[in-house]
Symmetry: C2
Subunit: 425 residues, 2 copies
């Protein structure tokens, strides 16, 4: 029968899943050290909850349907909405709360190479404070996680929409909200297009070319925090208090690889303060590996304008791509296969296997009663060591150990098998 998957779906194959579990384990460990508690919000939400963040337009991008009770429900498209809903609907939680998740989600995007309609993110959020110290904690967490994952070349690029808005209002003299939004969208393009392309794209949109040109120049301001802060001061901008305090806090925490980038503008109807994105410098065309910022507006929409929220989310698949660039191929762990000659030896082979497994050694065993030749052929694909349990050896309490690469064989007393395997693995 036709066993194809719905368009945009895929399996996480063993090698992909192993990489995912390595990222998950690292995330869990860093969350523990930083004091983020982990949870998993419901994968199915009422559609209206999913729409709260971005409006009904999100319907085009989410899997939604009527459940058998006639309710409009949808699959989560991120973890932030669910985490925010959880914190806001559980009034007894002590605030501020540091909470995170690592799970799959669904988006009905047009599938592209390496992009699926089901994917994983890690997510860490702090609810219950508007202090910039919480933003510093989020950036520090992000930096530590990247480091522990092995992405030593990743850089965290921080912007602040309020600073660009101030530049537009005070330096370019523009106060029309729509014009400001158009200009901000143009700045947002700078990561993917060069200044000339952006100028050309927006020239026809009733945007003053001179203003756009000055703004894109400002949006290109990027570099070491102190240097960028100096430039902002020289521009006479006032809205740099949070940025200055964030830079100080990150310095106290010795967070490396932080860059200020005035071109970082994310989710204009969503983020309200500091925003940041993470790029792998050697593979910037992968896009941002993670992004975050302050989004006090979501708790406000959910009815808690006092709460405040800041956080970060990262794409697991993209992170794995960035890692595989650096590590080259994943190292297949060496394995042991226990085979046997003749049906009478099956029980002995099983007993030897069980003993080794109880001692924590990863051991495979023949489970389909094939001939030794077939066992060897099969094991050659997965095992580096092959133990042959045969009646003659066994009469002397020995087994034959075969190195699958060289083909070399040696007879080993049973009581020495564990030590020999350990020294060879």
């Amino acid at each position: 029968m036709d066993l194809s998957l719905p368009r945009g779906m895929r399996d996480l194959k063993p090698e992909e899943y192993e990489a995912l579990e390595r990222v998950r384990a690292t995330f869990i460990e860093v969350a523990r050290v930083f004091g983020f508690r982990l949870m998993e919000p419901s994968p199915i939400e009422m559609l209206q909850t999913l729409e709260a963040k971005s409006g009904a337009g999100i319907r085009d991008e989410v899997y939604h349907f009527k459940d058998k009770g006639g309710r409009d429900v949808g699959l989560r498209f991120d973890l932030t909405v669910g985490l925010t809903r959880y914190v806001i609907s559980n009034r007894g939680l002590p605030l501020p709360i540091k909470i995170g998740a690592f799970s799959g989600m669904w988006r009905y995007d047009e599938p592209q190479y390496g992009r699926y309609r089901w994917f994983y993110q890690w997510d860490a959020e702090i609810f219950g404070t508007k202090s910039i110290d919480a933003d510093a904690e989020i950036v520090d967490f992000t930096s530590t996680l990247l480091d522990k994952l092995g992405l030593k070349e990743a850089s965290i690029e921080i912007g602040d929409r309020r600073i660009i808005e101030e530049f537009i209002r005070s330096r370019l003299g523009i106060s029309d909200e729509n014009k400001i939004l158009t200009l901000l969208r143009a700045v947002d393009k700078l990561e993917r297009k060069n200044v000339d392309e952006v100028l050309e794209e927006y020239a026809g949109k009733g945007v003053d070319r001179e203003a756009l040109s000055r703004l894109t120049e400002f949006g290109s301001l990027k570099g070491k925090p102190e240097r960028v802060l100096d430039s902002l001061v020289n521009e006479g901008l006032q809205q740099i208090e949070d940025m200055t305090r964030l830079v100080d806090a990150l310095k106290a925490r010795r967070v490396p690889n932080v860059t200020l980038n005035m071109g970082i503008v994310r989710g204009l109807d969503y983020y309200t303060g500091i925003v940041f994105e993470v790029f792998e410098n050697e593979k910037r065309n992968l896009g941002a590996l993670a992004g975050g910022g302050r989004y006090d507006i979501l708790p406000e929409i959910f009815g808690r304008s006092d709460m405040g929220a800041t956080g970060v989310a990262g794409g697991v698949e993209r992170t794995i791509l960035a890692l595989s660039k650096r590590e080259e191929t994943g190292v297949e762990s060496k394995r042991v296969f226990i085979g046997y000659v003749g049906e009478d030896m099956a029980g002995v082979a099983a007993e030897i296997t069980s003993n080794l497994r109880r001692r924590g050694l990863p051991v495979d065993i023949e489970v389909s009663g094939r001939t030794l030749r077939k066992q060897l052929e099969y094991a050659s694909k997965s095992a580096s060591l092959f133990v042959i349990v045969g009646p003659r050896d066994y009469a002397e309490r020995k087994v034959t150990l075969r190195d699958m690469e060289s083909g070399a064989e040696s007879k080993i007393p049973l009581e020495e098998l564990e030590a020999r395997l350990r020294s060879s693995l």
Copy 2:
């Protein structure tokens, strides 16, 4: 706004999620030792794939809908279907293959106390052999996993539908397929009802009371493998070859807590040979924690009648319930909170925090700029140790360490802080 979840949905709260992650980590470790590779099959399948196992009747129990492309799709209701589809559609895989998964799934059941429409299972399968050695490997895996989880009192109860069928045919002289199915369904009730209740329920269904009575008596046959096998031999039954070989193989592997139970009859249109269920003896009313068996019929439906399949799946939520019975409450890990007096000390506190975290110590820090009194009040809910960074102490390169339980405080030189925290945690 209304933030309620769809009926039957819930969040996995931090304490539940932590328990889930403990089960996941144990599962991953045992899978590694046994040589099962892990993956995650697609969460969304074509509806026809989901129906292959149980027919269109499954529609009532699955979340299904038309996607935006008009395709009938559904959320997975187990992991076995996806794993089987994966193995069968990837012809290049070396067989036999040992493969498993640990993930969430959805069923549109009527929600009950402690039962949700979204839940987790672990799953381990062997495809590509019909040998009983593979069934032994699955039972051994199950037993080892239960042991590593800490469920030392769990017992694995093994049955074989073919043996009961032979009893019905040869000893009760019934050969009508429908009658046989009705009788098997009656036996399946014996775990939840006593013999008299089952007799009463089925008396009106055109089933011979004498036959049913003898069958339920046979279905009550349960105990140590050798004793039950002897009884089967005494009954003159022939279909006991697989069971005998399985018992021998499990003995060679020293698998403890195995019972034969002729009343174990699972998924009558699905399982084809050995079947088993796992019960926690002190909490049998939780129902089976796991169940499995041989289901050669599913690969057959998917077009590979030669392949063979045997496996096991366990309910993570139920396992956690069984564990919490034994462990009583989960032990909250002790935590450290770094607070400070006065805004000037925020940077110093952040630096101390970062240093401790880099050394792997789980440390929380004040991130909302509150007064020391408020910090202490907040930390009392989560931390056992509180470090106060204050200007006077800091001038002497010291901090104050407060035991949150006793209230005792002592001044500690900064360079001794890590060692003091380690010895107290």
